[in-house]
Subunit: 131 residues, 2 copies
């Protein structure tokens, strides 16, 4: 699959490496070159430094031929903006976004975009373990 | 249950509120008073400002009568230190620690301490969704 990852923080960088190792074609975008450089020499995909919702940057990352986009920055507004672009303009078949603030979940629901919330996953698993 | 939570970041604060709402007796420790204050007025447990591995602070949080301790700061060294104290000195029945860097997992394994890694949970769930 051709997969674009938005955001090269902890979540994005691990995803990029694991999905690339699994044989997928990965492009990862981040505005911070230092975060992209931390992917290391083992990463086989493309790194693109730039504003995550910039049209030229998204095209450079191959959005016109992408099968999926994973939007996982820690900035909710960026995640919402890129979700909207991916859904309404580029009609990417699979879009999954990271929720930063659970109170914003309704926005993704309105856009009919799948979400994940790693912190809430951690909370739920910890609570399950305790019982 | 009497539960101590170490670290009042995103994970710790949500845990504190949800476990307190579920009827548990919660004490949460953080060195940063601002993070503790962000718990809000709905939180029914105790907040303790102080160094997370300080013996007097842990006793103030009720470690001598605690059933479980959840160690969830974003600083791996703090998490390891408190895990060690909870296991070897206070012999807390349930200890669960957050792994920050997966390369350190062997340390918790040596201590026979349960761990969670929210970022890796997020990665695994995202990968499952994609397939």
């Amino acid at each position: 699959m051709n997969i674009i990852i938005i955001g090269c923080g902890k979540l994005g960088s691990i995803l990029a490496n694991e999905l690339s190792d699994a044989g997928h074609n990965i492009s990862i975008i981040d505005r911070d070159i230092e975060r992209l450089n931390m992917l290391g020499s083992g990463f086989n995909g493309s790194t693109i430094k730039g504003i995550e919702y910039d049209d030229a940057i998204l095209k450079e990352a191959g959005i016109l031929a992408s099968d999926a986009i994973l939007i996982v920055t820690s900035d909710e507004n960026i995640n919402i903006t890129v979700s909207l672009i991916a859904k309404k303009i580029y009609k990417i078949p699979r879009i999954i976004a990271r929720i930063v603030n659970p109170n914003r979940k309704y926005i993704y629901e309105q856009l009919e975009i799948e979400t994940i919330n790693p912190i809430q996953l951690g909370v739920d698993i910890l609570k399950d373990k305790l019982v």
